[in-house]
Amino acid sequence: MSDVLAVTEHRRGELRDVSFEVITAGRQLADATGGDLHLAVVGGDTEAFADSLNREGVDAIHTVSVGEEFNHDVYAQAVEALHAEVDPEVLLTPNSVNGLDYAPAVANSLDLPLATDAVDLDYDDGLTVTREMYGSKVETTIEVGGDQQAVTIRGAEWPAAEGVGDAEIAEFEADIDTDAGSTVTGFEEVGGGDVDISEADFIVSIGRGIEEEENLDLIRDLVEATDATLASSRPIVDNGWLPKNRQVGQSGKVVTPTVYLAIGISGAVQHVAGMKGADNIIAVNTDPNAPIFDIADYGIVGDLFEVVPELIEQFE
């Protein structure tokens, strides 16, 4: 018993990228445990999804045809039933918003130790998970004991699986109560508004380092002097200082400008998810250890209230 069961994810008819990443992570683990890699596909067009997921290294794909969209009651029941069937050593799921809506319930029901948001996995007699703490300022390795474990993996940490596989694809008949107490009634797009920051070539983005709403005027002056597009990290939008369509990140917009100038932004993973594709990343931050410097091409370790006025002067 040393197989791996990985759960895939889709939304509105499309598989999400992390579904292919979880295959890579799962294969890596199954190679180390000497077991098979099983995938679970729950809901939606399971047949079409299974075809696309049949990549190199996948041994079996179990489809559960219940419902169109994600519903945590359905996912929890399906994954629990599959877990009983496959009896894997490790259960892998995405650390996505939906992953976090069923994986903890499954882990609790099945009494599996749970490690979330893994950025690396290692297996040598037992499972070791690498994860971050304190806003990515430190990394920890954690040995996860027990005979069976559950792990959620961070998106974009493993490459997407490629190639064509020859997995066995089979419908899994699970007895699922579809009236369990939560009902998804629809979706809503947010954002819209005056500008589309995803089209911008030069983005000046501001984070919590700005401290007060009044201080935003300083950044607006810079934006005007350089003809840039203004964007921000989440706290600025949460505070109501900028509209939602200016938010860069996992739950905001993905941007790909020539230059992304991040001012007073720490570089939390959910922010980075939206801007790591910029050609050039420049960071201004007082903290030399801020994670944003790990992905920056250029940086100033300094106080934005000193640097930005000087920068404005350069363009006036």
């Binding site: 809506d101 903890p104 979330t116 948001d117 971050e132 390795t141 004991g145 790990d294 940086g299």
Partner: protein, 263 residues
């Protein structure tokens, strides 16, 4: 209806710090109310102000020091607080999701709330899983990453928005009793008023040991064992501009011109 809010005091690490073994040295830690819990407290207090809730109780797993943070929640309008702590917890390493689930479950069973609100994640260990795990353990309904909540008293249903990735929200109806994990931005957390701070001094913070909760030390046995902690190796190949503000700004301006984005 009674609302229970899980409130965590989280540690923030200073810009410069040192690691001792598998912990950040205490000298470099500052404690504060978990950002996500602040929004959860606000949501609960608004439910009380708007009518549906009669009482808002907070629950914290934390040492005596955390009472300072708990008072902040009380000053913002929570009615009273429960604080779970024990020598056995003092000595425990990482409190994993299962441990927190079991401790909180005992409190929920004692308090018998209709709705439990918790933050999406804690800023320090960032497991992001306790709320949903707790719901499962209690046999409650749940919703993770909730950024809008509209409680329908007639039907005893919470109409919520769950904030998915990429600017999409899912609309979901959740039967009560339920645990909702609250995302930032759902409301505007208030500042504690002077009057609130004064009133908070006389509100109850009830300490509970494992014994009080009818639990034995087995509850904190964990399958998760932190074996190392380190500063992530910087993959940075960033060119850091040196000099005073005017010099660094000058170099930055040059790069912006070079890349053709500003003149």
């Amino acid at each position: 209806m009674k609302v229970l809010v899980t409130v965590k005091e989280v540690a923030e690490v200073a810009d410069d710090f040192e690691i001792e073994g598998t912990e950040v040295d205490e000298r470099y830690l500052e404690y504060d109310l978990n950002e996500w819990d602040d929004y959860a407290v606000e949501e609960a207090v608004q439910l009380k102000e708007d009518g549906p809730a009669d009482e808002v109780v907070t629950v914290t797993i934390g040492p005596e020091r955390s009472e300072e943070t708990i008072r902040m929640a009380l000053a913002k309008g929570a009615d009273r607080a429960v604080r779970v702590w024990d020598d056995a917890l003092e000595d425990a390493g990482l409190l994993d999701v299962e441990t927190k689930t079991n401790l909180l479950k005992s409190v929920v069973e004692e308090e018998d709330p209709d709705l439990v609100l918790s933050g999406v994640q804690a800023g320090d260990d960032a497991f992001g899983a306790t709320g949903v795990s707790l719901a499962d353990e209690l046999g409650f309904q749940w919703g993770a990453v909730v950024n809008a909540l509209d409680y329908d008293a007639d039907e005893n249903v919470a109409h919520v928005h769950r904030e998915l990735e990429g600017g999409v929200e899912e609309l979901t109806d959740i039967d009560l009793p339920a645990v909702l994990t609250i995302q930032t931005g759902i409301n505007e957390p208030r500042y504690a008023s002077l009057r609130g701070i004064r009133q908070a001094q006389s509100k109850e913070i009830a300490p509970k040991s494992l014994d009080d909760l009818g639990l034995d030390a087995g509850v904190i046995e964990s399958d998760l064992d932190v074996t190392s902690m380190y500063e992530p190796e910087s993959e940075s190949d960033a060119e850091i501009f040196e000099g005073d503000a005017s010099e660094t700004a000058g170099q930055l301006a040059e790069v912006l011109r070079e890349k053709g984005v500003a003149e």
